[in-house]
């Protein structure tokens, strides 16, 4: 392991990779601040560039830097103008925006940066411990277990979708897997479900799908409801001063940051949970723990209420790399896009990654530390200048967001049909979002669909049927876990309903 770490340090500290970290963090912060472009869209736009770089470590370092930068940029816009660019930073605006209105925007940004730094760094330390342990267990896995593990991952994503949403999320997952079967697959040389359209023969490009599912609906929402983009207003987000925090304040937030780094990381490791849930849960837990005056402060500009979600979301971002790097299973939409990028770069994440390509594996982890330092020392002083970006008028911002969305899917394939596909799927995705269908499960289903089928076919060929599902105990346990994950939320809901009814009758 020590050898691997040293190899990683050497790779991460080359001039090229250091430039990648800095560039990634800066680009991520810049774009992540704009409403309508979350980390998923930014990473999808950056993929052609990353592939062009060619070197997988450098590309992954760049993309990981963009990811952190985007989360941090999202916090900046939630604090300054109450417009979270990313779902994971919605909880940041609860206390961050009130602080900014009290004239403490600089202080709020510093707390956000320190929280992010601590969360990311503690997350990276835990990742170093967790990932090798999990990878060594995963090495024992067989295609049957992989198949079962992917089923668990997909059902966990649906299970975390929230009450009453499980069936909808499952439906979207199945739709994603179905879309993955379009085109020629590696195992069969006959095209499937292309409806005779030649452009579909190579399948649907995942960047196009990612853009259609996230960037385009968000941009259309900004058009439909102008109140969502509070950009271009005078007086807001303008003056930022007083970046320093006092010793007393530091003492107050230290335990919060400590707790939330660990809690956020653990939530991030679970597939389907990710930064959004981690930040909301972090906020809720800290509000419940806080006593008296402190608790009343929450929602009115409490520094604890700001530090909690900020620390938790960055720790969760790091945590979500654990299943990606060790099992090859993405836990969130963003890591799903990263997985797609890795496959395009000829790297297959999974337990073998640590053994076969230790320098890539460790370089990514080491660059996480560097990325966090860059965010703290480079971005923080630059924030007042970067924040000027928020003053771009909406009439310019939206056409540019739409244009970047189209460029992302166009330059990957150099095919104008891709743009028509993007518009069509984007419209469909927007309508589905109107109806409250979660879109991330669809993308994860799409990305895992191919791997799911490959492992399913291998397992079936080895046992000559589906008997592997109950013959191998590990597979059976995982599949039972998947079923439990799906039915647990609806069972709990039913139980609550029965209880409520019981109380009503008792009265």
């Amino acid at each position: 392991m020590l050898e691997g770490i040293l190899a990683g340090v050497t790779t991460a500290l080359t001039l090229q990779n250091l430039i990648m970290v800095v560039a990634g963090c800066l680009i991520g912060t810049l774009i992540g601040m704009l409403p309508g472009l979350g980390p998923m869209s930014i990473i999808a736009i950056m993929i052609p560039i990353a592939i062009k770089i060619g070197d997988p470590s450098a590309a992954l370092i760049l993309l990981a830097g963009v990811y952190y930068g985007a989360i941090f940029g999202g916090s900046t816009s939630s604090i300054l103008i109450n417009a979270p660019g990313v779902a994971g930073t919605v909880a940041t605006s609860f206390d961050g925006y009130p602080m900014a209105r009290q004239g403490k925007a600089g202080k709020a940004l510093t707390i956000a940066a320190i929280g992010s730094f601590a969360g990311g760094t503690v997350g990276a330390v835990l990742l170093m411990g967790f990932a090798p342990a999990l990878a060594s267990v995963a090495l024992l896995f067989h295609s049957a277990e992989y198949f079962a593990l992917m089923v668990v991952g997909l059902s966990a994503i649906a299970a975390f979708a929230g009450s009453g949403q499980v069936a909808k999320a499952l439906m979207m997952t199945v739709l994603g897997v179905m879309l993955a079967t379009v085109g020629e697959s590696a195992q069969f040389n006959a095209p499937r479900f292309t409806m005779g359209i030649q452009d579909l023969q190579s399948g649907i490009s995942f960047i196009t799908l990612a853009m259609a599912l996230f960037a385009l609906p968000e941009a259309l929402y900004l058009v439909l409801n102008p109140a969502r983009s509070n950009t271009g207003k005078d007086g807001e987000g303008g003056e930022i001063k007083e970046l320093r925090i006092t010793r007393e304040e530091a003492k107050k937030i230290t335990p919060v940051i400590g707790r939330q780094s660990i809690q956020g990381f653990l939530i991030g490791v679970m597939p389907g949970a990710g930064a959004t849930i981690a930040s909301f849960l972090g906020y809720a837990v800290e509000r419940n723990i806080a006593k008296g005056e402190d608790q009343k402060e929450f929602g009115k500009g409490s520094i604890k209420g700001l530090a909690a979600p900020e620390t938790a979301n960055n720790a969760a971002c790091t945590g979500s790399f654990v299943p990606l790097l060790t099992l090859g299973i993405p836990g969130s939409g963003t890591t799903a896009i990263l997985l797609g990028a890795l496959i395009a770069l000829n790297v297959t994440p999974g337990p073998r990654l640590m053994v076969d390509n230790p320098s890539i594996f460790w370089a990514v982890i080491i660059s996480m530390y560097i990325g966090n330092v860059v965010l703290l020392i480079l971005n923080l002083p630059l924030i007042p200048y970067i924040a000027k970006l928020l003053q771009i008028p909406r009439n310019y911002l939206i056409p540019f967001i739409l244009f970047f969305t189209m460029m992302g899917s166009y330059i990957g394939q150099n095919n104008a049909t891709e743009l028509l596909l993007l518009t069509g799927m984007g419209l469909a995705a927007t309508i589905m979002r109107f109806a409250g269908f979660p879109l991330a499960p669809m993308l994860i289903g799409f990305i895992l669909g191919q791997l799911l089928e490959d492992n399913f076919s291998r397992a079936m060929s080895l046992t000559d049927g589906v008997s592997f599902m109950w013959e191998r105990p590990m597979t059976l346990i995982l599949l039972i876990l998947a079923v439990v994950l799906i039915f647990l939320p609806s069972f709990r809901q039913q139980l609550a309903m029965w209880r409520r009814r019981g109380v009503a009758e008792g009265d």
């Binding site: 069936a167 199945v174 179905m178 409801n225 009439n395 056409p399 540019f400 743009l419 518009t423 049927g465």
Partner: protein, 165 residues
């Protein structure tokens, strides 16, 4: 009928067509030796179509009209769709389709400049003196970045420059 039920209904329909293709069309297209294999191109699609149709039906049964309090204020309330800028959104989507169709014939630079200007126009921007130069400079800059730095060819000029091809 609520929108989510309609979407789930369409999804079930898709599953039926998908399933028909997997069970009937693809089955008929199999080669003789393939019939003895355990795993076929239509094995997973068969499972998926059944699972999908089943889940789709559950969504249809479970969904219902939302209570007023259930709607997240940050989301769009579909029942009052008219209070939003629907016209602008549709116009922008039409512009995107036009961009896709015109990108090759009139070239990247012209298509992009037009798209950004017209997009701004749709949204209500009337300061042409600023809008046109911003769009043109941005189009040129991005073309330069993508083609010269990244090396991805974008076909910058209209068709007549390339001799009518």
């Amino acid at each position: 009928m609520t929108l989510d039920r309609a979407i789930a209904g369409i999804f079930v329909l898709i599953c039926v067509i998908y399933g028909y293709t997997a069970f009937v069309t693809m089955e008929a297209g199999l080669l003789p030796f393939e019939r003895n294999l355990t795993f076929l191109p239509n094995t997973m699609p068969k499972w998926l179509s059944i699972l999908g149709a089943f889940i789709g039906l559950i969504v249809i049964v479970q969904s219902g009209p939302k209570e007023a309090g259930e709607i997240d204020p940050s989301e769009i309330d579909v029942r009052n769709l008219r209070q939003y800028k629907l016209g602008q959104a549709i116009a922008l989507l039409v512009l995107m389709v036009a961009y896709a169709l015109l990108l090759r014939p009139i070239g990247f630079l012209a298509a992009t400049t037009l798209f950004i200007c017209l997009g701004g126009y749709v949204l209500g921007e009337r300061n042409y003196k600023l809008m046109v130069p911003v769009a043109a400079v941005a189009a040129f800059f991005i073309w330069y970045l993508v083609e010269q730095v990244l090396g991805i060819f974008l076909r910058p000029w209209p068709w007549f420059v390339y001799g009518g091809a």
